[in-house]
Symmetry: C2
Subunit: 333 residues, 2 copies
């Protein structure tokens, strides 16, 4: 009899192989098993906020070798330990991407647009899945009324263009934070950034994505109801105009944290760690504490662009750190 | 400017309502927004074990008022606190159900079958979703070769029958643990159980489901390769024949814990708590420690029938307790 021991599990594979010749399965004329599907389930998840029907849309996830400077203010070994504690692939960090679709009843609003198919090339497949997951959710890209961008980083904004550079959401108003627009469209700022490879690329990317459509872009300020029931909330640091959102309908509300933290396994658990992508890491850190002290006190439901799909949870204070409690999957809405 | 304060979030809904008259949205001739979908995404999730393609199939989840005796050996208030710590609906407990489909390349094996449509009536909708989620995953119920039952409780076994009582998987061999079959099919045991409402119902349910197909049911023992690469592992206590499984292919393996714990928020976090459904709670508790001491030492990937969908994670020792680290959603397989 198989006892529940370490040996059992370790021996599992070998035992299975050895046993094959002696089981009926090897000799029976089996019907052909169903072929492998080879594809993941569609990445969308529905939830409601009052009368609003919302959908978390997975743009994919990237796993890549942990860069030496992914976390700028702790030794790489510490970051690697955090990755391993989260069971990320060995030596790598995994960053997911999740735009949110808000159906207010009168407007269909997509908050952030994902990496776009063009960013890493269509063959990469692991990201740029927003259009296909919207389609899987039964949503026609032409029906989107507003694309509401939290900040002008490539993984949030590049999805506004399809692979052929046409507008992926042809009937949508594109709304961007005024402060980010001012910062990233400044030739003076771009010139100053030429010595920093990452910043140079960011400026070039904004130019690449927005050239030719400048006059069709709406700039929004903080503290405004930028779409029905959707209020822009100042969350600067990650970028100068980085914006979070409150979605409110009836007596219900949720917080869209955008990039207040990058991956929670690193930067929510360790809110004083600085991700390489923060333009003003000290300000981003202060914003992070302010946001999560509030969110945890309110027991607010928080959506994180870089939380693992379906990218929602409650956040609790844990001494000087925070802890994410992911939501339970709800099979009905 | 909206500051990031508790007032902001609390005022969100009111502010949104008040602001409506002053925003362009109220007066614009909006295109009709997309209608609400009203339905959740399909509940299936693919993963691989060596060359095997596996699919976690969500049968649904039930939320119900926490019974006084759901946890038999701690005060109800403690159980309620655990439910609230997991953000379950107020005063309620949520129990998810997740059969697993294993495609070995030669056999299509469904481990446990869910509640069945008939159990709570088709109108309930929240459970009995295995057939529809298999269909969503592109799997024809007729193509299932083996239904491998971990134990003879209704939520694991009733799905072998369709709503009209016909066999839901008409070409499948039904395999049940020999020790459970012996226990639940015994008229003597059934007679002794008549004074216990839960046990009486369990015995009646086994009779209801298996009458007429007795001769077609295969009884399996522990420590056997019951299907290619799938080994049955003794895990008694929850029921006399309750079985866990090791799935092994190549150098990879995972553990299917079945009901070694019911919901992890209660019984993995507190492995000495007894769920009302355990027939021999002391034995179940011992099995739980043995299983999870091993699984945590091995850093094994564990699938839990009652873990929230997609129902997989790593389990770590945390003093005398355990902690589940759910897997990150993988958008590709």
């Amino acid at each position: 009899m198989t006892e529940l021991t370490r040996r059992t599990v370790l021996a599992g594979a070998g035992a299975a192989a050895a046993a094959t010749a002696f089981t009926p399965f090897a000799t029976s004329t089996a019907r052909a098993a169903a072929p492998s599907a080879g594809a993941q389930a569609p990445g969308f998840y529905r939830y409601t906020v009052g009368s609003y029907e919302c959908t978390s849309i997975n743009d994919g996830a990237r796993s890549f070798p942990l860069p030496d400077t992914f976390v700028t203010n702790v030794p790489k070994a510490e970051a690697l330990a955090a990755a391993q504690a989260a069971y990320m692939p060995n030596g790598m960090v995994t960053v997911p991407f999740n735009p949110q679709l808000i159906n207010t009843g009168s407007k269909l609003v997509l908050i952030d647009s994902g990496n776009g198919i063009a960013t890493f090339g269509p063959s990469k497949g692991a990201v740029g899945r927003t259009l296909q997951n919207l389609a899987a959710a039964g949503v026609d890209a032409k029906s989107i009324d507003i694309v509401l961008i939290s900040h002008l980083h490539p993984d949030h904004t590049n999805g506004i263009r399809a692979a052929d550079r046409s507008m992926a959401f042809p009937n949508a108003e594109i709304m961007v934070p005024a402060k980010d627009w001012e910062f990233w469209m400044s030739e003076e700022n771009a010139a100053k950034a030429q010595s920093n490879e990452m910043m140079k690329n960011y400026f070039a990317n904004v130019k690449n994505i927005y050239t030719g459509i400048e006059s069709n872009v709406t700039r929004y300020d903080w503290g405004k109801e930028v779409a029905p029931g959707i209020t822009s909330v100042a969350a600067p640091g990650h970028t100068p105009g980085h914006t979070a959102f409150v979605i409110a309908s009836g007596s219900s509300s949720i917080l869209i944290q955008s990039d207040v933290t990058n991956i929670p396994e690193f930067f929510l658990r360790n809110p004083d760690w600085h991700v390489a992508y923060d333009l003003d890491p000290e300000q981003a850190q202060a914003t992070r504490h302010k946001f999560y002290d509030m969110a945890s006190a309110e027991k607010a439901l928080v959506v994180g662009f870089h939380f693992t799909f379906p990218s929602m949870g409650h956040v609790e204070k844990d001494g000087t750190k925070y802890r994410l409690v992911p939501i339970a999957w709800n099979p009905v809405i």
